[in-house]
Symmetry: C2
Subunit: 144 residues, 2 copies
Amino acid sequence: MVTDVQERLDEFVKACKSIGLKITPQRLAVYEVLLRRTDHPTVEEVYEEVRKLYPFVSLATVYRTVETLEELGFISKVPYWGGSARYDANTSHHHHLICTVCGAIADVDLNINWEPPAYMKGYQVHRFSINIYGVCPKCQNSKT
Amino acid sequence: MVTDVQERLDEFVKACKSIGLKITPQRLAVYEVLLRRTDHPTVEEVYEEVRKLYPFVSLATVYRTVETLEELGFISKVPYWGGSARYDANTSHHHHLICTVCGAIADVDLNINWEPPAYMKGYQVHRFSINIYGVCPKCQNSKT
DNA sequence: TTGCATGCAAAGGATTTGCACTATC
DNA sequence: GATAGTGCAAATCCTTTGCATGCAA
């Protein structure tokens, strides 16, 4: 599932060096947590997990790091409106399955033979992503 | 573009009556504003516009009404993460073009010959929507 | 050493909620 | 007249920011 966490971390370190960002344990820890989780955690959830290793980190730092990672293109926000932002370290072209009951989000690869045109309604198009809404197995079972 | 505002309002009134919700000018005004706008306004923007007609309404009521409308399926949140939630009264199957610079959102109809399977990864699938990211005409021009 | 990054706490913005009052049914 | 809906203001939740200190380069 997660392709070479270490390799991705190395890339991140390289990127930081090349643009003059310092390599701090906090930054690495935040990215590593995101790499190891495929459930699109919130900043709060990342924070909880980073804290297990580095109890001194602050939420603000996690927010700042996540913003940096996003700007560098290492992670992205899941395009869905819930209570708080959810992040995804999977940068390959993929889509999301979203449970409309509990909000769980899973990645899906789809072989869709469709590419958006370069321009639509005057917009210069860069990429697209698909949200598929449904009910996850857990929520199907808990129906009474 | 907007298909029969009055007709849709009537449907809403009918729905309210059938489930015992009261018909108040605030509710109608909020829905009407949403029906007449195709630019996916925020709650704040809806509020500003409703206020022109009914200067006494409160933001809280707009929030509550928008929530009701969403639960009844008359409007939906645009699945994109920006500063605040944006709503859409277009309930036909359509997709969104999103400007990554200014956040503008436009509706698009796509003829995609793809239907999601009934089940994916155990999720029972209901519907899907596509976000297409790019740069809107306005932002293309303002590049220096 | 030289900043950039961090931690802390306070600020800010969006949204929700409690309560008394009002208006629809 | 009963009750759901509203307005107001306070509360809450999520996120950002200012500032002094600490650490990577």
